[in-house]
């Protein structure tokens, strides 16, 4: 027997050959090193390698990006097709031109010398040689998803119940009464429309976002790519940004623009003013670049608190992968979801599936845990927050000297962390920083509550709170006390 054809080994492995044929091939392979090697290789390939290829995991693809491109390409093609259907064809233009020329020729041939000169006949003729005109393809539309609603909000003049299920696009008009609405339209890109405000999404697509506002809007925009524009029109003024967080207030007194970070350009017929981080400009009649001023700490903190609520993920089927959490309260109270302030409840906010911790503020502004709620995708979740019983303010307890010493030791150990928290404020020239704390430690040494109060920004305050919360107390007397801490 001669050498075995390689594909015969694959046939043998698949059981396509008779037993006698396979036995003869094997006998040959015992004496032929080349065929034996081919048998081993092909058998392993057929049995293991093919299976490994067939079961190879699917590589990750930029699914959302691909989906957007597919949508863009398909919809562009459909639009172009519709436009082609409307536009007269080249043949039709040629027909018109030919008819016009024939008509003129007939008039001349019938000797009509007193025939008035024809008014520029056969104009369409050049079109027969012109390149077909293609309308520029329209950019991909953006879809805004509501991430938070509190109070009364109207979309296109109607109080809708399906706010969270709607994708907001070009032409949508949003109006608020006493409420607020946050709309996310990309990763870290969202706007929050304040009370008694009206907003029109005049353009809302991949190349340009143009919002026309009357009232208050807080915007956070991720850095825009080249060719992408983001504009807010407020009366006669236009505010253009690349990537930033800012607030625009437009009312009868004029337009006020405050920028938390990044850079915005405020323009009108009179000129342009560049408003950088922690700056503001008030425009009463015309833009004046000399009126750009620095924001105070309180104003900066206010801007920080007004940051639009966004979901951690921006995915194309967000509506079905997220849940709408309703926080029901009998009175207006500030609320936090997973430590993030979302404004005064009652409200509804978009959250991702999972367990969420809710805190609400009491009359003095201190946050207390109100409960937790498990949210599931595409299903609404609700937490009813009971009105807290009025409690007597915590009074300092005796025998706190030991606890105070422990706190002082802990603060000394955490000085570097506290220093990092106050670095920004110190750099701004603010001196003699201090905070007022209220702390309660039980007999086991666990901190029951810790409240930090100061005029510093909420970010700094939170940082100080975190640093102090790391201080360890040992077993001892339970104590609750107030203390001023110099930083």
């Amino acid at each position: 027997m001669g050498h075995v054809a390689p594909h015969k080994w694959a046939d043998a492995w698949r059981g396509k050959l008779s037993e006698s044929e396979v036995a003869a091939m094997d006998r040959h392979a015992e004496t032929c090193a080349r065929c034996a090697k081919a048998r081993d290789r092909i058998t392993r390939t057929s049995s293991v390698t093919f299976a490994a290829i067939k079961n190879a995991p699917v590589p990750e693809v930029s699914w959302d990006s691909v989906r957007a491109k597919v949508h863009w390409e398909v919809s562009s093609a459909k639009r172009s097709a519709r436009q082609r259907a409307i536009r007269p064809t080249r043949a039709a233009w040629l027909g018109v031109a030919a008819c016009a020329a024939a008509g003129i020729g007939l008039l001349v041939a019938t000797g009509g010398t007193d025939v008035p000169a024809p008014p520029t006949p056969a104009q369409p003729a050049p079109l027969a040689h012109a390149e077909p005109v293609h309308a520029p393809a329209a950019p991909a539309p953006l879809a805004g998803m509501v991430s938070l609603v509190s109070g009364e909000v109207m979309i296109d003049g109607v109080r809708r119940t399906d706010l969270f299920d709607r994708a907001l696009g070009t032409g949508t008009v949003i109006a608020t009464a006493d409420g607020r609405i946050d709309v996310q339209f990309g990763d870290h890109s969202a706007f929050a429309l304040g009370p008694r405000s009206k907003l029109e999404l005049r353009r809302f697509d991949a190349t340009e976002v143009r919002l026309v506002v009357d009232g208050t809007i807080d915007v956070e925009v991720a850095p825009r790519a080249a060719g992408q524009r983001f504009l807010v029109e407020a009366g006669a003024q236009t505010i253009e940004v690349r990537g930033t967080q800012f607030r625009v207030v437009h009312d009868t007194n004029g337009t006020r623009v405050a920028c938390r970070h990044g850079l915005v350009a405020v323009r009108d017929h009179a000129g342009e003013a560049l408003v950088g981080a922690a700056k503001k400009v008030d425009v009463t009649s015309a833009v004046d670049a000399t009126k750009v001023a620095t924001l105070s700490d309180a104003e900066l903190a206010q801007l920080a608190e007004a940051t639009p609520v966004t979901t951690p993920l921006w995915i194309d089927d967000l509506a079905h992968r997220s849940s709408i959490l309703e926080l029901a309260t009998s009175t207006h109270r500030d609320a936090r979801v997973d430590g993030v302030e979302v404004g005064p409840a009652p409200l509804r906010v978009r959250v991702m599936p999972g367990r969420h911790t809710i805190e609400t503020a009491d009359a003095s502004g201190r946050f207390h845990r109100a409960g937790w709620v498990d949210a599931q995708a595409a299903e609404p979740a609700r937490l009813e927050v009971a009105t807290p019983e009025p409690t007597a303010p915590a009074s300092p307890t005796p025998s706190i000297a030991a606890r105070k010493r422990e706190l002082a030791t802990g603060i000394a150990a955490n000085r570097p962390k506290l220093g990092r928290c106050t670095r920004a404020a110190a750099k701004s020239g603010i001196e003699d920083l201090s905070v007022q704390i209220e702390i309660s430690v039980d007999a086991t040494g666990a901190v029951r509550f810790l409240n930090v109060d100061s005029d510093l920004t909420s970010v700094t305050q939170a940082c100080i709170h975190d640093a102090l919360a790391q201080i360890q107390f040992g077993p001892g007397p339970a104590a609750t006390w107030h203390e001023r801490i110099d930083l």
């Binding site: 390698t49 093919f50 290829i53």
Partner: protein
């Protein structure tokens, strides 16, 4: 609507029954964005997996997946329903892959080492975790397979892949490559001979 996507307990999207499939197609034809999203989410992994396995590398995979879906959405008007939607989309994948193979100007190693690193062996195929030596062996074997397939003409390569790796029969392959079973059988015969010869040659070239 996406909410109508049924998922089985393993987390994968369950197959559509014919009525739901017809409904989905009708809604896609009516330019319903949610239906198009559903179709995309249902088939995106299948499409990417098919293309990846046929071609053996992930270069341009994003573009190819996009091309498949663009063709699918544009062609839905002409989809007659003589095959399941998944088969029809598979057919588009095969044609897109065939086009890609034809237009490859140069032929690099069909499956790069970076790709092979991620092509983890299905745990069901091995009782014990792979040793580094086994992993290297598997990667080299896969590379040899794709190198041998690269020596075939595109039409032969597709037919061989569908038969030898995907395990499809002649009739199924004939539908996917838009040919008839007799032609496929002839093409497969020569493809197998050439492929296994190339594979044996690759073995001979081993150190």
């Amino acid at each position: 609507m996406l909410s109508r996507v049924k998922r089985d307990t393993t987390g994968t999207i369950a197959a559509l029954d014919p009525a739901d499939e017809a409904d989905l197609i009708a809604r896609c034809r009516a330019d319903e964005r949610a239906a198009q999203d559903e179709l995309y989410h249902r088939f995106r992994r299948q499409v990417a997996g098919n293309l990846y396995r046929v071609l053996g590398d992930r270069g341009d995979l994003d573009d190819l997946v996009q091309e498949v879906f663009v063709i699918a959405f544009r062609g839905l008007e002409r989809f007659r329903g003589d095959a399941r939607l998944s088969t029809w989309i598979y057919r588009i994948c095969v044609n897109v892959a065939l086009g890609k193979i034809r237009t490859r100007k140069r032929r690099p190693a069909a499956i790069g080492m970076a790709d092979l690193d991620t092509a983890v062996m299905d745990p069901s195929l091995t009782e014990r975790p792979e040793t580094p030596a086994q992993s290297l062996q598997r990667r080299q074997d896969q590379e040899r397979v794709y190198r041998a397939m690269d020596t075939l003409a595109p039409k032969k390569r597709i037919v061989l892949y569908l038969h030898e790796i995907e395990g499809l029969d002649l009739k199924e392959i004939a539908y996917l490559v838009d040919s008839n079973p007799v032609t496929v059988r002839t093409r497969l015969f020569y493809a197998r001979k050439e492929f296994y010869k190339a594979l044996e040659g690759a073995a001979d070239g081993d150190p």
